[in-house]
């Protein structure tokens, strides 16, 4: 159950996408997110979907794996779908008692659901194809370019890499504590909502205790090795743009222009 979390998971294959500079992938993801919000009709989402499908095929990652990320937010997607469907005013398509489904509602709910799914699967493509160390290195290099923030770019990326590094550790820990409390008769599947919320106390208290303990140990270990931030620190691997990165940038910009262009399509599907 907890093992289904895909956020920050890396799936190794030998594709070109994996070999790209992490900065390229981060920038591409950012552009993708921005342009996904710029799309204002279904054609834009179709264009984004086409772009994403091409990326998935090139990356050689099983489609099921990419879609696993959506599984975690299926509830949120369903909620937005229902809310948009029922509470968007406009031209009535179908009426049943107090419930009216409008043409605008149908189109808005489909667009929202598509946008969410594309957002999640698109960004998980970045983490699936990039090991966390590269990802945070790329972030650091990019943040350095941002005015003001640039001075703390190392600290920010260090915090991020530690956070990502501890996701699997803490899930494992949670799994262990859950099993221990289950063997003491704890009930996590109760139908009663109050009981269920209460049932999480025996999980969360030990989890926090151990997280603080680990943080303390880590801080000690870093200090013992004279960690003092990024100043004067050299790197083993220096990020360098290759020819394939330039091609990737060109492809991404072209695709984004394509998504943007769909704003001018006036033909309505619904």
């Amino acid at each position: 159950m907890i093992k289904d979390v895909v956020i920050g998971q890396y799936y190794p294959t030998d594709s070109v996408i994996h070999k790209l500079d992490p900065r390229t992938k981060i920038m591409a993801s950012l552009l993708y997110i921005v342009f996904l919000f710029m799309a204002n009709n279904i054609w834009g989402y179709f264009a984004a979907m086409f772009f994403l499908i091409v990326i998935v095929i090139i990356s050689k990652i099983p489609v099921g794996y990419v879609l696993k990320g959506i599984k975690g937010v299926v509830f949120i997607i369903l909620m937005t779908l229902i809310f948009n469907l029922l509470w968007t005013p406009g031209e009535a398509l179908y009426t049943l008692g107090p419930v009216t489904i409008t043409r605008e509602g149908v189109s808005a709910s489909i667009n929202m659901a598509l946008r969410l799914m594309l957002l999640i699967s698109g960004t998980s493509m970045m983490t699936l194809t990039t090991p966390t160390i590269q990802l945070t290195d790329g972030m650091e290099a990019l943040i350095k370019k941002v005015p003001f923030l640039g001075r703390v770019s190392h600290e920010i990326s260090m915090m991020m890499s530690i956070a990502l590094r501890f996701i699997p550790t803490l899930t494992e820990e949670l799994d262990r504590i859950m099993k221990a409390q289950k063997s003491r008769g704890a009930d996590f599947e109760s139908k009663n909502i109050v009981k269920r919320v209460k049932g999480y106390v025996p999980l969360l208290v030990p989890l926090f205790v151990s997280a603080f303990q680990r943080a303390n140990d880590l801080a000690m270990a870093m200090e013992a090795r004279c960690y003092h931030g990024g100043e004067g620190r050299t790197r083993l691997k220096i990020l360098k743009y290759e020819k394939r990165d330039r091609i990737a940038y060109a492809v991404v910009i072209f695709a984004m222009a394509g998504i943007f262009a769909t704003r001018f399509i006036t033909y309505r599907l619904i």
Binding site: E173, R176, K179, A180, S183, R184, G185, D187
Partner: protein, 283 residues
């Protein structure tokens, strides 16, 4: 209360790239008052096995029968299983969460639906079994105790449910030699005085040699040997092949024999080995 395991197989992440066989067709019986030692190299399937005995894991195939009840029958409520089988995980102190020791130990009995009077009795009794003074410890926060005390409180939390079968996964890891021996003696007392069936998972050959009636040896998910210590430790070559040692006292005897002394190497506990050495060397 007996355990019957038949053709138990467990495969992790079946059907994905991460697929791994953790248990491979394991069958065995455990009697009501047995003290069983479970040994095996890291990743041999020991921990996976014990989690099947109270349905924390569901077998890929095979059956687990505890006291003539198939525990994977969906009609059997989880409460009926945890009432029978208590598991103490590795580093059990990490499961403490309540404000006071009393509240923490009573978590199990309360979950089983016992009233205050019965719970109070069980908490008292289990803290006593673990050698902790009830009056002085009951109102303390579990987080202000020492490491050894924390562990005892955590184990008391499992004993308080009065399971006739107790599984302990490396209960002595991280303890100093004195704490280690005290812990093992307490476990032996639970077995001999209270008649609790014990399954002790451990890396230490010396511990199982000294305390267990029977030993299960696991290697790569298979139960490769199951018998009394004398039988299991008879073949040190076999154990070496699956990357396990014999107890230290036995390896001393074997070394002496290699050096040409006429010595019987069948002893495996420290006492018996000492006796044998005295016999050969005279006084």
């Amino acid at each position: 209360m007996s355990i019957e395991v038949r053709n138990l197989t467990h495969i992790y992440s079946q059907g994905t790239v991460f697929e791994r066989i953790a248990l491979d067709n394991v069958s065995f019986d455990v009697g009501p008052r047995d003290f069983i030692g479970i040994i095996g190299h890291t990743g041999s399937g020991k921990s996976t096995l014990v989690q099947h005995i109270n349905r924390l894991l569901v077998p890929t195939s095979g059956t687990v029968i505890v006291n003539h009840i198939d525990i994977n029958d969906k009609k059997v409520p989880m409460k009926d299983i945890v009432r029978r089988v208590g598991i103490v995980f590795q580093y059990p102190e990490s499961q403490l969460f309540e404000e006071t020791v009393y509240k923490d130990v009573s978590f199990g009995p309360k979950n089983l639906g016992y009233d205050d009077e019965k719970t109070d009795f069980l908490v008292r009794q289990s803290l006593e079994i673990m050698g902790l003074g009830f009056e002085e410890i009951k109102d303390k926060s579990p987080f202000e105790l020492s490491g050894g005390q924390k562990r005892r409180v955590a184990i008391a939390g499992v004993i308080a449910m009065k399971p006739p079968i107790m599984i302990l996964d490396e209960p002595t890891s991280g303890l100093d030699p004195v704490g280690r021996e005290e812990m093992l003696n307490m476990i032996r007392d639970m077995n001999q005085e209270l008649g609790i069936c014990i399954l002790l998972v451990t890396h230490s050959m010396d511990d199982v040699a000294q305390y267990a009636d029977k030993i299960m040896v696991f290697s790569e998910g298979k139960l490769v040997k199951y018998g009394p210590p004398s039988e299991v430790f008879a073949d040190s070559q076999f154990l070496a092949n699956i990357r396990l040692d014999v107890p230290q006292s036995k390896s001393v005897l074997e070394r002496l024999k290699e050096k040409g002394f006429d010595i019987d190497t069948s002893a495996y506990t420290t006492k018996e080995a000492a006796k044998e050495i005295l016999r050969v060397f005279g006084k």
